[in-house]
């Protein structure tokens, strides 16, 4: 396996959906290729960081308006 082939399989490898035979080849390549090891590690960390990112707070005015609109709509549709 070459680096470029490994790159194409990155999604499947980091998501754990790669075929076991290819996974073995992937790991064999990485064992002898430090740049690929670091890239895979960087990618995993990138995903972890985004997964644990903070959501935006709703503006207070909008939150109040949203709930008022929903209550009104609920009453209309449950009359």
């Amino acid at each position: 396996m070459k680096c470029q082939e490994l790159l194409k399989m990155l999604n499947e490898y980091v998501d754990g959906t790669v075929d076991p035979a290819i996974c073995e080849e992937f790991e064999k390549h990485m064992a002898g290729c430090n740049p690929c090891q670091v890239v895979v590690d960087n990618i995993r960390k990138t995903i972890t960081l985004y997964k644990s990112g903070q959501p935006y707070e709703l503006p207070v005015d909008f939150k109040q308006k949203l709930h008022a609109v929903l209550r009104q709509k609920w009453k209309e549709s449950h009359m």
Binding site: L10, V38, N42, K45, T46, L49, L58, V69, R71, H78
Partner: protein, 201 residues
């Protein structure tokens, strides 16, 4: 809680809204990069959920169901912005997406800190959002649904009206570009790997 709301309990619906509104709003804001549009999408999403609550079958989680409604609403705005009312997102983007070329990593270095240490830092969210903003829209939408919100490839593809293979290509490009950008800031220059003599091809 969902069953109580379906049975007509307004308090249960309000609780569900409070539980999920931040996530829906954040997704919309990161997709559209516009506060007013994000508010419109959030309101449209919960009004639509209220209206179609009876059709929620529980095949996906309630949050996934909401995120899909929100994505649909956000795509409408994106298409309107582009004047592409009748064109799907897939048709609106160039066919080169399916090419075999994968952008090659340029800056390769270990990060100075672990993600667990980084999330504690106040300025990290800004860095993440700025890097996301620099992605092409078509890559950003896929990354947001798959990696930030945790939808499956299939759910992401269906939400965006893309094929699964196209979704995977876009996801790979998004991940590689974000890795590149974050590593330039978070990487330890002392561990940077020289591209030569290792040609990495």
């Amino acid at each position: 809680m969902v069953q109580r709301a379906i049975a007509g309990d307004l308090d249960a619906f309000e609780t569900l809204t409070s539980r999920h509104e931040q996530r829906v709003y954040s997704l919309a804001k990161r997709m559209l990069r516009h506060e007013q549009d994000a508010e419109d999408v959030t309101q449209t999403t919960f009004l639509s959920a209220l209206e179609h609550l009876n059709s929620f079958r529980g095949e996906a989680s309630f949050s996934t169901w909401l995120l899909r409604i929100a994505t649909h609403a956000a795509l409408k705005i994106i298409r309107k912005r582009k004047g592409l009312d009748l064109v799907s997102l897939e048709e609106a983007t160039e066919p080169s997406d399916n090419s075999d070329k994968v952008p090659h990593p340029e800056y390769i270095a270990d990060w100075r800190q672990s993600p667990e240490e980084l999330v504690e830092k106040h300025e990290i969210q800004q860095l993440l959002d700025e890097a996301l903003d620099r992605l092409d829209e078509k890559h950003r939408l896929v990354f947001l649904l798959r990696d930030v919100e945790g939808l499956s490839i299939k759910e992401t593809a269906e939400s965006l009206g893309l094929t699964e293979s196209n979704t995977k290509v876009r996801l790979l490009r998004a991940r590689l570009q974000l890795r590149e950008e974050l590593t330039r800031t978070l990487g330890d220059p002392a561990t940077q790997l020289a591209r030569s003599p290792h040609r990495h091809d």
